[in-house]
């Protein structure tokens, strides 16, 4: 390496903050963290704010509604709702919102999140909570995980470095479960949530090994698509006790700070199927219910 090349490389490292997700050293030329595939723009965005990022992760099985939830949540935060007001920090944070809002307004659901972690959309939003006498401001950072990636990471930890690093740093989880799936296939969903809970405990314990106190994360269990499951909408905690007893027990023993919510974004829909076995709902109109409340609780409890 010539002197000039060495000097340039040194400059690249000098300018670049470490990855916000895994602390790996990045260069100013990197688009993604080599270690965990976190986009460099999220790291730059967070480091420019000079505030400790507040990782709130939206996790859950495939098709639980994570993308719709996160995208609409961001849109609602921008408009201000229930004492929360959000300002996206950077144009990249609006990509997910744009994708979800455009799709819902056209009365369709957005495309599935790809499995490749470098294609995930991230958001960094400065959220002001004015529900208390003293305003609280948090840098809400979240990726839109693919459900399949989460499932793969649970089976083979380490496959998705982004998932494990973010889970380690997350102070509050919004664990989404499709309420109709829980009602109809309770044991399967219950066990998946157990696996996820166990993975969170394990990852967070690993990250806390060198610390003097044990900090368990806040966990909000959110039953999504509750427009199709009135039982979940009426009393989400009772619904969880009745349909996910194992995970309810697990939460009570391992996550002292947990709460149960229900959420929906659709006011009315129709179930369609086609001759190649595809089955899906199409929304007729959008009326968000219970979308903000889990985040508000998570901010106040983490």
């Amino acid at each position: 390496m010539s002197k000039a090349e060495g000097y340039n490389t040194a400059l690249c490292y000098q300018d670049a903050p470490p990855c916000v997700c895994c602390d790996a050293q990045m260069t100013s030329l990197d688009d993604y963290c080599e270690e965990c595939q976190t986009p460099a723009e999220i790291t730059r965005s967070v480091s420019q704010r000079h505030a400790k990022p507040h990782f709130i992760s939206v996790v859950g099985p495939s098709n639980a509604g994570k993308t719709v939830y996160l995208g609409l949540l961001l849109d609602m935060l921008c408009g201000g709702a229930k004492n929360l007001k959000g300002v996206p920090n950077g144009a990249f944070s609006i990509k997910l919102q744009e994708q979800v809002v455009s799709a819902l307004e056209e009365r369709r659901f957005p495309e599935k999140t790809p499995n490749e972690s470098d294609l995930w959309k991230w958001l960094h939003c400065v959220v002001t909570d004015s529900s208390q006498r003293k305003e609280k401001q948090v840098d809400f950072v979240a990726p839109d995980f693919a459900g399949e990636a989460i499932a793969t990471e649970l089976e083979q930890p380490g496959t998705y470095a982004a998932v494990s690093h973010i889970v380690q740093r997350t102070s509050a989880f919004l664990l989404l479960c499709d309420s109709a799936e829980v009602r109809d296939n309770g044991a399967r969903e219950d066990l998946f949530a157990m696996k996820l809970g166990s993975y969170i405990s394990q990852q967070q314990a690993l990250s806390e090994l060198g610390k003097s106190r044990d900090l368990t994360p806040a966990v909000a269990i959110v039953f999504t698509k509750s427009d199709t499951c009135p039982e979940a909408a009426a009393d989400p905690r009772r619904f969880m006790t009745n349909n996910m007893p194992r995970f309810m027990d697990y939460c009570q023993h391992n996550f002292p700070r947990h709460a149960v919510f229900s959420a929906s974004v659709v006011g009315s829909s129709a179930l369609l199927s086609n001759d190649v076995g595809g089955v899906a709902r199409v929304p007729f109109h959008i009326q968000p219910r219970g979308v903000i409340e889990p985040l508000h609780w998570a901010i106040q409890n983490s």
Partner: protein, 348 residues
């Protein structure tokens, strides 16, 4: 209305004549009409908003002119004349694209509507309470035979007959002037029959929202009763930030020129039109229960593009949602309203 009368007093037919209407009347009670000088039976029919039975008697025997005069006075207060005409009905069909199942907007066609009288505001909790107290849920003549078993389940939170979110057969005290919600399509129909009216069709409802506001530079119908640009001050949708129903007295900036309120926002309105979803041939639409169209959007409608006069949504006929209410109408064909002069002369 006779042709000659229409042209001699055109504004009297369309005007927004509800004298108690005040833009800042959010806290006011429900609009109540009472004619102490009327014969007792007529007075009761007017108080219970059943005056349509006077102008359109079910047995065909006409009421005396004095009774008709009171009935038309009540109709003038409560309802607006919507002239017949054409509307362009829009809908959607389901198809498959790269993104999966999608709904593609389409123009269904033009529909010719007849003239109607349409309620200026949605049926309120106070209105519906009179129906409940009069034994509407026990009156089998108001319910189709096939849903009589379901009528037993049309109860409130305390198990009393009534809308889903009432308690002890009563609405919350502060919501007397709010549109009644938590009523199924069948309950809306039963009430409409009880007062001698019916639910409007989608085309009639759309005509009411668009006939007076078509821009002079466009042949298209206006999107909203007040024009083409959404304004959250004019309609209680998500954007207005209220997130609950409001009184029928509010949002009067969004009135139609003839004084019909809150066609857009506050509550979706049940239509007398079955919802049918067209689909390309590879798609099967699974609708276990029949659905009716609902129009106008509600306090929790997120996108105002879903709450135009042309857009539609649907609910199953038995759904009792907290954001779906209704208003009633009756046909204007063959009716001869008593004019202002006659009313004033009689009053004098």
């Amino acid at each position: 209305m006779p042709f000659a009368t229409f042209f001699s007093r055109p504004l009297s037919a369309f005007r927004a004549s509800f004298s108690a209407a005040k833009p800042d009347a959010a806290a006011a009670g429900p609009p109540i009409l009472d004619f102490p000088g009327a014969p007792p039976d007529i007075r009761q029919l007017v108080r219970e908003r059943q005056y349509a039975h006077i102008v359109r008697p079910a047995d065909g025997i006409a009421f005396d002119p004095d009774s008709l005069r009171y009935a038309w006075k009540a109709i003038d207060h409560d309802m607006a004349y919507v002239p017949g005409g054409n509307v362009t009905l829009c809908g959607e069909y389901a198809t498959t694209s790269e993104e999966g199942f999608v709904l593609v907007p389409q123009v269904v066609g033009t529909s010719q509507t007849d003239s109607i009288y349409l309620d200026r505001w949605c049926v309120t909790n106070a209105d519906f309470q009179r129906f409940v107290q009069a034994g509407g849920y026990e009156n089998v003549s108001l319910w189709p035979e096939q849903i009589l078993a379901s009528v037993l389940q049309f109860v409130d939170k305390t198990g009393q007959p009534g809308p889903a979110f009432w308690e002890n057969g009563q609405p919350a005290k502060t919501t007397a002037a709010h549109p009644v919600v938590g009523v199924s399509w069948y309950e809306a129909n039963a009430y409409a029959q009880w007062v001698g009216k019916r639910l409007p069709t989608s085309a009639e409802w759309q005509r009411a929202g668009t006939w007076g506001a078509t821009g002079s530079d466009s042949l298209k119908e206006s999107k909203y009763p007040w024009g083409n640009s959404f304004d959250p001050q004019f309609a209680n949708t998500w954007a207005s930030g209220r997130h609950q129903t409001v009184s029928v007295h509010e949002c009067q900036g969004g009135n139609t020129p003839n004084g019909i309120r809150q066609l857009i926002g506050n509550v979706w309105e049940w239509m007398n039109t079955q919802y049918l979803l067209a689909a390309t041939e590879e798609i099967t639409v699974h609708m276990t229960d029949p659905m009716a169209e609902v129009r106008g959007g509600a306090f929790d409608s997120y996108f105002h593009s879903h709450t135009t006069c042309q857009s539609r949504s649907a609910q199953t006929l038995l759904a009792r949602k907290n954001n779906v209410g209704f208003r009633c109408c009756f046909s204007a064909e063959g009716l001869d309203p008593h004019g202002d002069e006659e009313m004033q002369a009689a009053d004098a």
